[in-house]
């Protein structure tokens, strides 16, 4: 079965992640062998993902670390990271849910 370009485009992300089923992957690969447009789209997308993941894209502002560690130092001297010291019990009860297990945002789907 021959698949069209626009179907190949739908699979680009999964192709790059290696999560396509073997059958679809083979069809996509066959298509890529003879379609220079889809090959170029795939290559450029892969290239862009490498560039966007590079550490150099987002540089820290000058003095960022110094300011951060100064603020942390003040915090560390003030409190210890225990779950229920009297001093920060207020903060732990109002708000700091585990960001990872309880997302702030309700699912929108």
């Amino acid at each position: 079965m021959v698949i069209e370009c626009k179907h190949v485009w739908e699979h680009i992300s999964d192709y790059l992640d290696g999560t396509l089923s073997p059958e679809i992957r083979e069809e996509v690969q066959k298509h890529l062998e003879h379609c220079e447009i889809c090959s170029a789209i795939l290559d450029s997308t892969r290239n862009i993902l490498i560039l966007t993941a590079d550490e150099r894209v987002f540089e820290l502002p000058l003095g960022f670390s110094e300011r951060l560690h100064a603020r942390l130092e003040a915090e560390i001297r003030g409190i210890a990271p225990a779950p229920s010291t009297p001093r920060n019990s207020n903060e732990t009860s109002t708000g700091e849910r585990s960001a990872f297990t309880e997302p702030d945002e309700p699912s929108d789907e």
Binding site: I12, S13, V57, S98
Partner: protein
């Protein structure tokens, strides 16, 4: 990112901090400063806000360190805290209401990539040029929020699809759909721009 030995070290440092060696928190977070800031900047668009949000995220991580269970990597946990910090700031800014979590209308259907016949690879060294970095930053921050969030977690911070879904509170299927669209949107925007600024002579020898 962090290998097995690194994460063992990390677990030991965390245990030590919780046992009272709080000054070690400085060392614990040093490798994560850039990624937390990148996440905050991409979501908040503004350097001052991003720096403040990043600091706040680290402080929250410190205050809540006892709740970190080590089931995920520390970096993943930290990025989730940063995401939530940025999200709550976005919510409190009424002006950003326009940029809602709703699906932007134009992207209900499929997203079409930029069509081209050949692609001359742009090497990472190109990122030494401020011009190229600015183009990439802009393209990421211009993504609609729901796509930007997924893209940042998955492709910049390198969380897994499952971790991204959990952090965002959406399904795995949604992560995949949004990630695909985000990647194609970036390809569509960046490819013509990068082709324009890439000096052919310099990179010709690369291929």
């Amino acid at each position: 990112m962090t290998g097995i030995s690194d994460s063992t070290d990390e677990a030991q440092i965390i245990a030590s901090i919780l046992a009272g060696n709080t000054h070690l928190f400085h060392d614990l977070i040093r490798p994560h400063e850039r990624s937390v800031y990148a996440m905050a900047l991409s979501l908040l668009h503004n350097e001052a806000d991003a720096e403040d949000a990043a600091q706040e995220a680290f402080l929250k991580a410190f205050r809540n360190l006892a709740k970190f269970r080590g089931e995920s990597k520390f970096s993943t946990w930290l990025i989730s805290i940063t995401l939530n910090e940025a999200r709550s700031r976005l919510r409190s800014k009424k002006t950003v209401k326009m940029e809602s979590l709703d699906e932007p209308p134009e992207s209900q259907g499929s997203v079409t990539p930029a069509l081209l016949r050949d692609w001359r690879e742009i090497p990472s060294e190109a990122l030494e040029r401020q011009e190229i970095r600015a183009l990439i930053q802009q393209a990421i921050t211009d993504l609609p929020l729901i796509y930007r969030e997924v893209f940042l977690l998955r492709d910049v911070e390198e969380l897994s699809v499952n971790q991204s879904a959990e952090a965002l509170g959406i399904s795995i299927a949604s992560v995949k759909v949004r990630l695909h669209r985000a990647r194609i949107m970036l390809q569509k925007k960046l490819v013509p721009q990068l082709k324009r600024v890439s000096p052919k002579r310099r990179w010709f020898s690369w291929s």
